[in-house]
Amino acid sequence: MQTANIDQIIDAHQGKPSALIHVLMEIQHVNHWLPREVLKKVSQKLEVPFNRVLQVATFYKTFSMIPKGSHEVHVCMGTTCRMRGAGELLDTVKDLIGVDVGETDADMKYSLENGSCLGCCSLGPEIIVNGKHHTRVEPSKADDVLKSYA
Protein backbone atom coordinates (compact mmCIF):
# COMPACT_ATOMS: atom_id res chain seq x y z
CA MET A 1 0.00 0.00 0.00
CA GLN A 2 1.33 3.43 -0.89
CA THR A 3 0.62 5.07 2.43
CA ALA A 4 2.44 8.30 1.67
CA ASN A 5 0.53 8.76 -1.56
CA ILE A 6 -2.80 8.12 0.10
CA ASP A 7 -2.03 10.54 2.92
CA GLN A 8 -1.13 13.16 0.35
CA ILE A 9 -4.49 12.74 -1.40
CA ILE A 10 -6.41 12.94 1.86
CA ASP A 11 -4.46 15.94 3.16
CA ALA A 12 -5.07 17.85 -0.05
CA HIS A 13 -8.80 17.80 0.67
CA GLN A 14 -8.74 18.20 4.42
CA GLY A 15 -11.94 19.62 5.89
CA LYS A 16 -13.85 19.38 2.61
CA PRO A 17 -16.72 16.92 3.00
CA SER A 18 -17.88 17.59 -0.56
CA ALA A 19 -14.64 16.10 -1.92
CA LEU A 20 -15.50 12.65 -0.52
CA ILE A 21 -16.18 10.85 -3.78
CA HIS A 22 -13.25 12.56 -5.48
CA VAL A 23 -10.86 11.47 -2.72
CA LEU A 24 -12.16 7.91 -2.72
CA MET A 25 -11.76 7.72 -6.49
CA GLU A 26 -8.17 8.92 -6.34
CA ILE A 27 -7.29 6.44 -3.61
CA GLN A 28 -9.04 3.65 -5.51
CA HIS A 29 -6.98 4.61 -8.55
CA VAL A 30 -3.55 4.47 -6.88
CA ASN A 31 -4.26 1.69 -4.40
CA HIS A 32 -6.81 -0.42 -6.34
CA TRP A 33 -8.91 -0.90 -3.22
CA LEU A 34 -10.11 0.95 -0.12
CA PRO A 35 -8.95 -0.56 3.16
CA ARG A 36 -11.15 0.14 6.19
CA GLU A 37 -8.30 1.97 7.97
CA VAL A 38 -7.97 4.34 5.02
CA LEU A 39 -11.71 5.01 5.06
CA LYS A 40 -11.47 5.90 8.74
CA LYS A 41 -8.70 8.36 7.98
CA VAL A 42 -10.77 9.85 5.16
CA SER A 43 -13.70 10.19 7.55
CA GLN A 44 -11.58 12.03 10.12
CA LYS A 45 -9.71 14.34 7.78
CA LEU A 46 -12.64 15.24 5.54
CA GLU A 47 -14.99 15.60 8.51
CA VAL A 48 -17.54 13.21 7.10
CA PRO A 49 -19.19 10.71 9.46
CA PHE A 50 -17.73 7.23 9.04
CA ASN A 51 -21.10 5.69 8.25
CA ARG A 52 -21.50 8.14 5.37
CA VAL A 53 -18.07 7.18 3.99
CA LEU A 54 -18.97 3.52 4.26
CA GLN A 55 -22.29 4.11 2.56
CA VAL A 56 -20.67 5.88 -0.40
CA ALA A 57 -17.81 3.39 -0.65
CA THR A 58 -20.18 0.42 -0.82
CA PHE A 59 -22.72 2.11 -3.10
CA TYR A 60 -20.61 2.63 -6.23
CA LYS A 61 -19.20 -0.23 -8.24
CA THR A 62 -16.05 1.85 -8.86
CA PHE A 63 -14.97 1.35 -5.26
CA SER A 64 -13.72 -1.92 -3.91
CA MET A 65 -13.51 -2.80 -0.24
CA ILE A 66 -11.54 -5.94 -1.01
CA PRO A 67 -7.99 -6.03 -2.46
CA LYS A 68 -7.77 -5.88 -6.25
CA GLY A 69 -4.99 -6.85 -8.60
CA SER A 70 -2.77 -4.30 -10.29
CA HIS A 71 -4.48 -4.81 -13.68
CA GLU A 72 -8.23 -4.40 -13.93
CA VAL A 73 -9.61 -6.56 -16.70
CA HIS A 74 -13.12 -5.85 -17.92
CA VAL A 75 -14.87 -8.05 -20.42
CA CYS A 76 -17.86 -6.44 -22.10
CA MET A 77 -21.05 -8.47 -21.91
CA GLY A 78 -23.34 -5.95 -23.58
CA THR A 79 -25.84 -7.18 -26.14
CA THR A 80 -23.66 -6.50 -29.16
CA CYS A 81 -20.47 -7.98 -27.71
CA ARG A 82 -22.43 -10.97 -26.50
CA MET A 83 -23.76 -11.58 -30.00
CA ARG A 84 -20.24 -11.26 -31.33
CA GLY A 85 -19.08 -14.02 -29.00
CA ALA A 86 -18.28 -12.34 -25.70
CA GLY A 87 -19.58 -15.33 -23.75
CA GLU A 88 -16.88 -17.55 -25.17
CA LEU A 89 -14.32 -14.78 -24.70
CA LEU A 90 -15.25 -14.36 -21.03
CA ASP A 91 -14.92 -18.12 -20.48
CA THR A 92 -11.48 -18.03 -22.08
CA VAL A 93 -10.36 -15.09 -19.95
CA LYS A 94 -11.70 -16.82 -16.83
CA ASP A 95 -9.63 -19.88 -17.69
CA LEU A 96 -6.52 -17.83 -18.48
CA ILE A 97 -6.58 -15.83 -15.24
CA GLY A 98 -8.07 -18.69 -13.28
CA VAL A 99 -10.73 -16.68 -11.44
CA ASP A 100 -14.44 -15.94 -11.73
CA VAL A 101 -15.97 -12.52 -12.33
CA GLY A 102 -15.41 -10.20 -9.36
CA GLU A 103 -12.35 -12.08 -8.18
CA THR A 104 -8.60 -11.49 -8.19
CA ASP A 105 -5.89 -14.03 -8.90
CA ALA A 106 -3.50 -15.23 -6.20
CA ASP A 107 -0.59 -13.13 -7.51
CA MET A 108 -2.71 -9.97 -7.14
CA LYS A 109 -2.04 -9.27 -10.77
CA TYR A 110 -5.42 -9.43 -12.53
CA SER A 111 -8.91 -8.62 -11.30
CA LEU A 112 -11.72 -9.74 -13.55
CA GLU A 113 -14.94 -7.78 -13.97
CA ASN A 114 -17.65 -7.74 -16.57
CA GLY A 115 -19.93 -4.93 -17.63
CA SER A 116 -23.08 -4.49 -19.60
CA CYS A 117 -21.87 -2.45 -22.54
CA LEU A 118 -18.55 -0.73 -22.06
CA GLY A 119 -18.93 1.51 -25.04
CA CYS A 120 -17.46 0.16 -28.29
CA CYS A 121 -20.30 -1.87 -29.75
CA SER A 122 -19.07 -1.58 -33.34
CA LEU A 123 -15.68 -3.01 -32.35
CA GLY A 124 -16.83 -5.84 -30.09
CA PRO A 125 -16.18 -8.13 -28.48
CA GLU A 126 -13.83 -6.15 -26.35
CA ILE A 127 -11.61 -6.43 -23.33
CA ILE A 128 -10.65 -3.33 -21.37
CA VAL A 129 -7.49 -3.48 -19.30
CA ASN A 130 -6.71 -0.52 -17.04
CA GLY A 131 -8.97 1.65 -19.17
CA LYS A 132 -7.40 0.70 -22.52
CA HIS A 133 -9.79 -0.85 -25.02
CA HIS A 134 -8.72 -3.96 -26.88
CA THR A 135 -11.21 -4.49 -29.68
CA ARG A 136 -12.35 -7.37 -31.87
CA VAL A 137 -10.78 -9.83 -29.45
CA GLU A 138 -11.21 -13.41 -30.63
CA PRO A 139 -11.03 -15.89 -27.75
CA SER A 140 -7.73 -17.10 -29.23
CA LYS A 141 -6.28 -13.60 -29.00
CA ALA A 142 -7.19 -13.10 -25.34
CA ASP A 143 -3.94 -14.66 -24.19
CA ASP A 144 -1.87 -12.14 -26.17
CA VAL A 145 -3.84 -9.24 -24.71
CA LEU A 146 -3.29 -10.41 -21.15
CA LYS A 147 0.36 -11.27 -21.80
CA SER A 148 1.04 -7.70 -22.94
CA TYR A 149 0.43 -6.70 -19.32
CA ALA A 150 2.51 -9.48 -17.78
Binding site: K40, N51, R52, L54, Q55, T58, F59, Y60
Partner: protein, 206 residues
Protein backbone atom coordinates in the same frame (compact mmCIF):
# COMPACT_ATOMS: atom_id res chain seq x y z
CA UNK B 1 -44.87 33.97 8.11
CA UNK B 2 -47.74 34.20 5.72
CA UNK B 3 -50.69 31.91 5.91
CA UNK B 4 -51.60 29.63 3.07
CA UNK B 5 -55.07 28.34 2.40
CA UNK B 6 -55.48 24.98 0.77
CA UNK B 7 -58.11 22.31 0.46
CA UNK B 8 -57.64 18.77 1.75
CA UNK B 9 -60.42 16.25 1.14
CA UNK B 10 -62.87 19.10 0.55
CA UNK B 11 -61.95 20.77 3.81
CA UNK B 12 -60.36 24.24 3.95
CA UNK B 13 -57.07 24.03 5.80
CA UNK B 14 -54.83 26.86 6.94
CA UNK B 15 -51.12 26.21 6.84
CA UNK B 16 -47.89 28.17 7.12
CA UNK B 17 -45.40 28.51 4.31
CA UNK B 18 -42.82 25.97 5.47
CA UNK B 19 -45.27 23.14 6.07
CA UNK B 20 -45.62 20.02 3.97
CA UNK B 21 -48.95 18.62 2.83
CA UNK B 22 -48.60 15.88 5.44
CA UNK B 23 -48.12 18.35 8.27
CA UNK B 24 -51.03 20.46 7.08
CA UNK B 25 -53.27 17.39 6.90
CA UNK B 26 -52.27 16.23 10.36
CA UNK B 27 -52.88 19.68 11.82
CA UNK B 28 -56.42 19.48 10.43
CA UNK B 29 -56.92 16.00 11.84
CA UNK B 30 -56.83 14.29 8.46
CA UNK B 31 -55.07 10.93 8.56
CA UNK B 32 -52.46 10.02 5.95
CA UNK B 33 -50.67 6.71 6.50
CA UNK B 34 -46.87 6.84 6.80
CA UNK B 35 -44.09 4.43 7.57
CA UNK B 36 -40.78 6.24 7.16
CA UNK B 37 -42.00 9.54 8.64
CA UNK B 38 -40.88 10.72 12.07
CA UNK B 39 -41.58 14.13 13.58
CA UNK B 40 -38.04 14.65 14.80
CA UNK B 41 -36.45 13.76 11.47
CA UNK B 42 -36.12 15.41 8.10
CA UNK B 43 -38.72 14.18 5.59
CA UNK B 44 -37.35 11.22 3.69
CA UNK B 45 -39.91 10.12 1.11
CA UNK B 46 -38.75 6.53 1.29
CA UNK B 47 -41.89 4.46 1.76
CA UNK B 48 -44.27 6.42 -0.50
CA UNK B 49 -47.23 5.33 1.62
CA UNK B 50 -48.17 8.97 2.13
CA UNK B 51 -48.80 9.37 -1.60
CA UNK B 52 -51.73 11.69 -2.24
CA UNK B 53 -53.30 13.29 -5.27
CA UNK B 54 -52.73 17.02 -5.63
CA UNK B 55 -54.42 19.30 -8.10
CA UNK B 56 -53.00 22.60 -9.28
CA UNK B 57 -54.51 24.62 -12.12
CA UNK B 58 -56.80 21.76 -13.05
CA UNK B 59 -54.02 19.17 -13.34
CA UNK B 60 -53.93 16.29 -10.90
CA UNK B 61 -50.88 14.23 -10.06
CA UNK B 62 -49.53 11.94 -7.37
CA UNK B 63 -46.93 13.21 -4.89
CA UNK B 64 -45.45 12.14 -1.57
CA UNK B 65 -47.25 14.23 1.06
CA UNK B 66 -44.32 14.13 3.49
CA UNK B 67 -42.10 16.01 1.02
CA UNK B 68 -44.54 18.16 -0.92
CA UNK B 69 -44.70 21.77 0.32
CA UNK B 70 -48.07 23.44 0.68
CA UNK B 71 -49.11 25.96 -1.97
CA UNK B 72 -51.97 28.44 -2.08
CA UNK B 73 -55.17 26.98 -3.55
CA UNK B 74 -53.75 23.48 -3.68
CA UNK B 75 -56.40 20.78 -3.79
CA UNK B 76 -55.37 17.59 -2.05
CA UNK B 77 -57.24 14.30 -2.12
CA UNK B 78 -55.92 11.72 0.34
CA UNK B 79 -58.30 8.92 -0.59
CA UNK B 80 -59.09 8.28 -4.23
CA UNK B 81 -59.43 4.84 -5.81
CA UNK B 82 -56.09 5.42 -7.54
CA UNK B 83 -54.27 6.45 -4.37
CA UNK B 84 -55.74 3.59 -2.35
CA UNK B 85 -54.78 1.06 -5.00
CA UNK B 86 -51.25 2.42 -5.08
CA UNK B 87 -50.93 2.21 -1.31
CA UNK B 88 -52.29 -1.32 -1.36
CA UNK B 89 -49.61 -2.34 -3.88
CA UNK B 90 -46.86 -0.65 -1.84
CA UNK B 91 -48.00 -2.52 1.27
CA UNK B 92 -48.04 -5.80 -0.64
CA UNK B 93 -44.53 -5.18 -1.97
CA UNK B 94 -43.25 -4.34 1.51
CA UNK B 95 -44.93 -7.44 2.89
CA UNK B 96 -42.86 -9.58 0.56
CA UNK B 97 -39.94 -8.43 2.72
CA UNK B 98 -41.51 -8.39 6.16
CA UNK B 99 -44.75 -10.39 6.17
CA UNK B 100 -45.20 -10.30 9.96
CA UNK B 101 -44.58 -6.64 10.71
CA UNK B 102 -47.41 -5.42 12.96
CA UNK B 103 -47.49 -2.02 11.32
CA UNK B 104 -47.82 -3.61 7.91
CA UNK B 105 -50.48 -6.07 9.09
CA UNK B 106 -52.58 -3.16 10.37
CA UNK B 107 -52.13 -1.26 7.12
CA UNK B 108 -52.88 -4.39 5.11
CA UNK B 109 -56.19 -4.76 6.87
CA UNK B 110 -57.04 -1.11 6.27
CA UNK B 111 -56.26 -1.28 2.55
CA UNK B 112 -57.26 -4.89 1.90
CA UNK B 113 -53.75 -5.89 0.90
CA UNK B 114 -52.88 -9.52 0.30
CA UNK B 115 -49.66 -10.38 2.11
CA UNK B 116 -48.98 -13.29 -0.24
CA UNK B 117 -49.47 -11.43 -3.50
CA UNK B 118 -45.74 -11.33 -4.24
CA UNK B 119 -43.25 -14.14 -3.68
CA UNK B 120 -41.74 -13.71 -0.28
CA UNK B 121 -38.19 -12.58 -0.14
CA UNK B 122 -37.87 -12.06 3.55
CA UNK B 123 -35.14 -9.55 4.21
CA UNK B 124 -37.18 -8.34 7.21
CA UNK B 125 -35.93 -4.79 6.60
CA UNK B 126 -38.15 -2.26 4.83
CA UNK B 127 -35.28 0.21 4.34
CA UNK B 128 -37.41 2.95 5.88
CA UNK B 129 -34.19 4.46 7.20
CA UNK B 130 -35.70 5.44 10.56
CA UNK B 131 -32.87 3.91 12.55
CA UNK B 132 -30.12 5.30 10.33
CA UNK B 133 -31.62 8.77 10.24
CA UNK B 134 -32.47 8.86 13.95
CA UNK B 135 -28.91 7.91 14.83
CA UNK B 136 -27.49 10.51 12.45
CA UNK B 137 -29.86 13.40 13.03
CA UNK B 138 -31.07 13.15 16.61
CA UNK B 139 -28.32 11.27 18.43
CA UNK B 140 -25.54 12.28 16.02
CA UNK B 141 -23.67 9.07 16.76
CA UNK B 142 -23.65 7.75 13.18
CA UNK B 143 -23.56 4.17 14.37
CA UNK B 144 -25.78 2.68 11.66
CA UNK B 145 -25.21 2.87 7.92
CA UNK B 146 -26.86 1.82 4.73
CA UNK B 147 -24.43 -0.29 2.78
CA UNK B 148 -24.43 -1.59 -0.78
CA UNK B 149 -26.97 -0.55 -3.38
CA UNK B 150 -30.06 -1.67 -5.20
CA UNK B 151 -31.47 -5.05 -4.23
CA UNK B 152 -28.51 -5.74 -1.95
CA UNK B 153 -28.96 -2.59 0.14
CA UNK B 154 -29.12 -3.21 3.88
CA UNK B 155 -28.53 -1.60 7.26
CA UNK B 156 -25.32 -2.28 9.15
CA UNK B 157 -24.22 -1.33 12.62
CA UNK B 158 -20.64 -0.10 12.52
CA UNK B 159 -18.94 -2.22 15.18
CA UNK B 160 -16.34 0.40 16.11
CA UNK B 161 -18.99 2.97 16.93
CA UNK B 162 -21.75 0.63 18.09
CA UNK B 163 -19.53 -0.93 20.76
CA UNK B 164 -19.01 2.52 22.28
CA UNK B 165 -22.41 4.11 21.89
CA UNK B 166 -25.22 1.60 21.52
CA UNK B 167 -25.35 -0.36 24.74
CA UNK B 168 -26.82 2.49 26.78
CA UNK B 169 -28.87 4.09 24.01
CA UNK B 170 -30.91 1.70 21.88
CA UNK B 171 -33.37 4.52 21.19
CA UNK B 172 -33.70 3.29 17.63
CA UNK B 173 -35.18 -0.05 18.73
CA UNK B 174 -38.82 1.05 19.13
CA UNK B 175 -38.68 2.93 15.80
CA UNK B 176 -38.23 -0.19 13.69
CA UNK B 177 -41.44 -1.33 11.97
CA UNK B 178 -40.10 -4.90 11.93
CA UNK B 179 -37.67 -6.46 14.38
CA UNK B 180 -34.81 -6.52 11.95
CA UNK B 181 -32.93 -3.66 13.58
CA UNK B 182 -32.76 -5.45 16.92
CA UNK B 183 -31.59 -8.61 15.20
CA UNK B 184 -28.92 -6.68 13.29
CA UNK B 185 -27.72 -5.08 16.52
CA UNK B 186 -27.47 -8.28 18.50
CA UNK B 187 -25.72 -9.99 15.62
CA UNK B 188 -23.16 -7.20 15.47
CA UNK B 189 -22.78 -7.33 19.23
CA UNK B 190 -22.28 -11.07 19.25
CA UNK B 191 -19.71 -10.90 16.47
CA UNK B 192 -17.80 -7.75 17.31
CA UNK B 193 -18.02 -6.94 21.04
CA UNK B 194 -19.50 -9.90 22.87
CA UNK B 195 -17.81 -10.08 26.29
CA UNK B 196 -19.98 -8.18 28.76
CA UNK B 197 -23.25 -8.79 27.00
CA UNK B 198 -22.95 -12.54 27.15
CA UNK B 199 -25.22 -13.30 30.10
CA UNK B 200 -24.41 -17.00 30.16
CA UNK B 201 -20.74 -16.18 30.34
CA UNK B 202 -21.35 -13.76 33.22
CA UNK B 203 -23.30 -16.42 35.11
CA UNK B 204 -20.61 -19.07 34.76
CA UNK B 205 -18.10 -16.58 36.08
CA UNK B 206 -20.04 -16.25 39.34
Amino acid sequence: MSEILLQIDGKDVKATETMTVLEAARSAGIHIPTLCHHEKLEPYGGCRLCTVEVETRGRARLVAACLFPVQPDLIVRTHTPEVDKLRKTIIELLMAHAPDSFELLDLAQEYGADRNRFDQESSFCLLCGLCVRYCNEVKQKNAIAFVDCGAKREINFIPEIASQECRDCKECFPLCPTSYLQAAYFLTEALAFPHESNAAHALTKK
